[in-house]
């Protein structure tokens, strides 16, 4: 007689997570292939322009992470539950990861297009400021302990840190600067259909990557919370010594 195993909601969530990773990997490989072999080389900048198809989507994914951090932080301040806090922390970590990608890929493109890696252009400066805000959030959470006061302080930072996001978006229109306006100027800057398809594939793959990273980091945070609860219970039962689990 065979033993029937019961599938729990946790198993279902894990299965969905691994499925999402597989779909994300397949679409990302497809996007890289399309960008490398189908999207045409740009006339004035040459092949380095292809950085654009991942640079812009990673900036958009940074916005997604920052928005998740804002929503999670606001939710934690309103409800005070671990789920909202996990979403906020995962959002900040996603924003830092994607922000680093933006800040690495942009200067590599600029080295060829502008002749310098960095210039204090409004969009570059506000983007770096935003990444630094989320780095501050992550560092605060990593080193300040897991108390409620620290979580509330970090949540306030997560809410206020989102104020810079619209400034990044409109900086290039309001203050000028060197940064290209290919997307923000009505989306008409890409003059070949394959260029548009490549960008759309970039957006799709980075949306999925951002969801994978968000999900993974939130799972991690919830597992850390479960561990803290289990350690507390173990201390109460005398299984482990306090402060030395």
């Amino acid at each position: 007689m065979t033993k029937r195993t019961q599938i729990t909601p946790t198993d279902r969530a894990s299965l969905a997570f691994y499925l999402l990773i597989a779909v994300t990997a397949a679409i990302t490989v497809g996007a890289v292939h399309f960008i490398a072999f189908r999207a045409p080389t740009e006339a004035t900048m040459g092949i380095v322009q292809k950085v654009f198809y991942f640079h812009v989507p990673s900036a958009y994914a940074m916005y997604l992470g920052a928005t998740a951090c804002f929503v999670g932080s606001a939710g934690y301040l309103a409800k005070g539950t671990r789920g909202w806090d996990a979403l906020a922390k995962a959002g900040a970590e996603t924003a830092v990861t994607m922000g680093l990608m933006v800040l690495i890929s942009g200067p590599l493109w600029a080295a060829k297009a502008w002749g310098v890696y960095w210039t204090w252009d409004p969009r570059l400066t506000t983007s770096m400021l935003s990444v630094l805000i989320y780095v501050a959030y992550v560092v605060l959470r990593a080193f300040s302990g897991g108390g409620e006061a620290e979580r509330k302080f970090a949540a306030a930072l997560g809410v206020l840190g989102a104020a810079n996001l619209p400034i990044i978006h409109f900086s290039v229109q309001k203050w000028g600067g060197n940064h290209p306006k290919v997307i923000t100027k009505g989306g008409g800057g890409l003059q070949h259909p394959d260029m548009k398809t490549a960008l759309m594939l970039g957006f799709l793959s980075f949306t999925l990557i951002a969801i994978v990273v968000l999900w993974q980091r939130a799972r991690l945070e919830l597992a850390a919370s479960r561990l803290a609860d289990a350690e507390q219970e173990a201390v109460e039962l005398g299984l482990v010594e306090e402060g030395n689990p």
């Binding site: 890929s105 493109w109 002749g115």
Partner: protein
Amino acid sequence: MTPLFALQAQTSAPAGKPTGTTEERGEVFKPVDGGNTMQSGEALLVEAYAAFWLVLFALIALGWRRQRQLDQRVGDLETAIDRARAAQESAEKKSA
């Protein structure tokens, strides 16, 4: 057969004849006009894509490892807690 470095010099030297005397070239290094614009677009593109995947895979791999460690620790603790509770209950029943 052309030596390796001689071949490299032939392919990477700027077009045209070198300027100045042999002595001057031995004492002064002059940069080409344009500086960073001379960088290879192909190399910059590869560096950018390598950075993307390095950052992403490092994050996912480290997160995966940490998740496994946490799940292992939570599982061990929950088993120990269940055993301790069962022992506590049986001790209470015996004493009653």
